[in-house]
């Protein structure tokens, strides 16, 4: 759905989405990296299970919540993608360290 601007040529950053290898660019937020990789929905809401995707991209709407390196409910648009990050789409309520 989304395409990068033609002049965007930055360092490649490898990471995983739900365990699958993926790649984005240095400077991407996690939410942008998901969108660039064609991820349509990044979570299901905790009560009704409705699908959600990154929306405002500026930290306000909380629709881009994902699990990053095992920690749930991270705002994907507010986290800079790092090499090797494990990003997981979040199905409902976040985890708790049991």
């Amino acid at each position: 759905m989304f395409q990068r601007l033609p002049n965007a040529a930055a360092e490649r950053v490898p990471f995983t989405i739900d365990g699958r290898p993926a790649e984005a660019q240095a400077g991407d937020s996690v939410a942008a990296a998901l969108l660039a990789n064609g991820v349509q929905t990044c979570r299901a809401t905790p009560v009704s299970g409705a699908p959600r995707a990154p929306y405002c991209m500026m930290g306000v709407c909380f629709d881009c919540l994902v699990t990053i390196d095992g920690v749930g409910n991270r705002q994907g648009c507010q986290v800079r993608l790092e090499p090797g990050m494990r990003v997981e789409t979040q199905d409902g309520k976040r985890e708790i360290g049991l």
Binding site: P46, V47, N73, R94, I96, G97, L98
Partner: protein, 376 residues
């Protein structure tokens, strides 16, 4: 919305919070024609800010009848929740898995044990099971307690619900049973006249054979209009709610509980702050820190909201139920446990009000109990 002028009802209930709503709901169930007069959104609204426990253990030290009244309501809650669900389709998420009250030191645990023992040693007190669990025993039940937790008391009668849905279910039920709910009708004056009452509100006058004052903090102002006295004061409590997490805690643990929808509520501050419902960061930090000592796994959770609400406290902390001696159709009902006691207000108190007389067993709850030491 229809004007109230000239309206005649069997009962006018003043106050649309949990006490007034549950009582009005119970009255309507008995076929009474009921008007529920509520303030607007500017009202102090403890019923929108409470912690949602249906809690028995520890209540009634100093008034054994209150222990019995509380247990009776908790015992009635399953039926009450079922009646609400059948009538409105709203599930108020009542669950009664038993509740723990944690202690953060051996001294605290010992004090808790003594408190519960003194409560149960009172003459005529209702008996119920409870246990004091040391750390090892508590870990069997809640393996994720922190290193500072010395133990807990446990009572199988304790439970919790979704109290916002409770208020909504009550109001849906009121509408369903034809109760005239009238918001923005602050009662300015009540006059006993011709064997009934005339209530002057900002939106017109209403006539009723009986009046129930269930207006929380505003009962202080209203009670003297019908020869009653409501010596209550606000006691502020803060509540934190975290983001929703997978279910890990079915039991309410005193001031920590996980809601049916997954958020963790943390509460239990007690402050004298007038009617101010502002949130104080210092209080919030203190209750959060204590909760993390009890359950360290709460530490990484994000807080999504904090708020404060005002308990309606009598001087001894027990409810006041009273019928006016000078205007016998007027009743007063006030307590700080509007959730726990909702089943009683609907199913046990309302029938007496419908019949027009509080029986003798309610004498102990009269505000006259506060007058004796003053006269001595």
């Amino acid at each position: 919305m229809s004007d109230l002028s000239g309206s005649e009802y069997d009962v006018a209930v003043v106050g649309g919070g949990l006490v007034g709503s549950a009582t009005a709901w119970g009255l309507a169930r008995l076929g009474q024609k009921v008007a529920l007069l509520d303030e607007g959104d500017v009202a102090v609204r403890p019923s929108r800010g409470n912690f949602a426990l249906v809690w028995v253990q520890g209540k009634g030290l100093g008034m054994p009848e209150y222990a019995g009244w509380t247990k009776r309501s908790a015992d009635g809650w399953t039926e009450f929740a079922a009646l609400l669900r059948d009538q409105t389709g709203i599930d108020v998420a009542y669950d009664r898995p038993g509740g723990f009250f944690p202690a953060l030191s051996e001294a605290e645990l010992e004090a808790r044990a003594q408190q519960l023992q003194r409560l149960h040693n009172q003459p005529g007190v209702v008996r119920y099971d409870y246990e004091i669990l040391d750390r090892a025993a508590l870990r069997q039940e809640l393996p994720f307690i922190g290193p500072d937790v010395a133990g807990a008391s446990y009572c199988p009668l304790d439970g919790h619900c979704n109290s916002l849905r409770l208020l909504r279910a009550l109001h849906a039920g009121l509408q369903h049973s034809g109760v005239a709910y009238r918001p923005n009708r602050r009662v300015e004056r009540i006059e006993a006249r011709d064997g009934g009452f005339r209530l002057a509100t900002g939106g017109g006058e209403v006539g009723a054979g009986k009046v129930v004052l269930a207006a929380g903090h505003d009962n202080i102002r209203l009670a003297p209009m019908v020869g009653l006295d409501a010596p209550v004061r606000p006691e502020r409590g803060h509540i934190i709610v975290t983001e929703k997490t997978i279910p890990f805690l079915r039991h309410p643990v005193g001031f920590i509980r996980q809601t049916d929808e997954g958020g963790v509520m943390i509460g239990d501050s007690f402050e004298d702050a007038g009617l101010d419902v502002g949130v104080r960061v210092g209080v919030v930090s203190t209750i959060a820190e204590r909760a993390v000592r009890i359950f360290p796994l709460l530490g990484p959770l994000n807080v999504v909201r904090t708020w404060a609400a005002q308990r309606v406290m009598s001087r001894d902390g027990f409810p006041i139920y009273e019928q006016s001696a000078t205007a016998p159709g007027a009743f007063l009902a006030t307590c700080h446990s509007g959730v726990t006691l909702a089943a009683n207000h609907a199913l046990a108190l309302a029938p007496h009000i419908a019949a027009g007389r509080l029986p003798q067993e309610f004498d102990v709850f009269s505000a006259r109990r506060f007058h004796v030491p003053e006269a001595a």
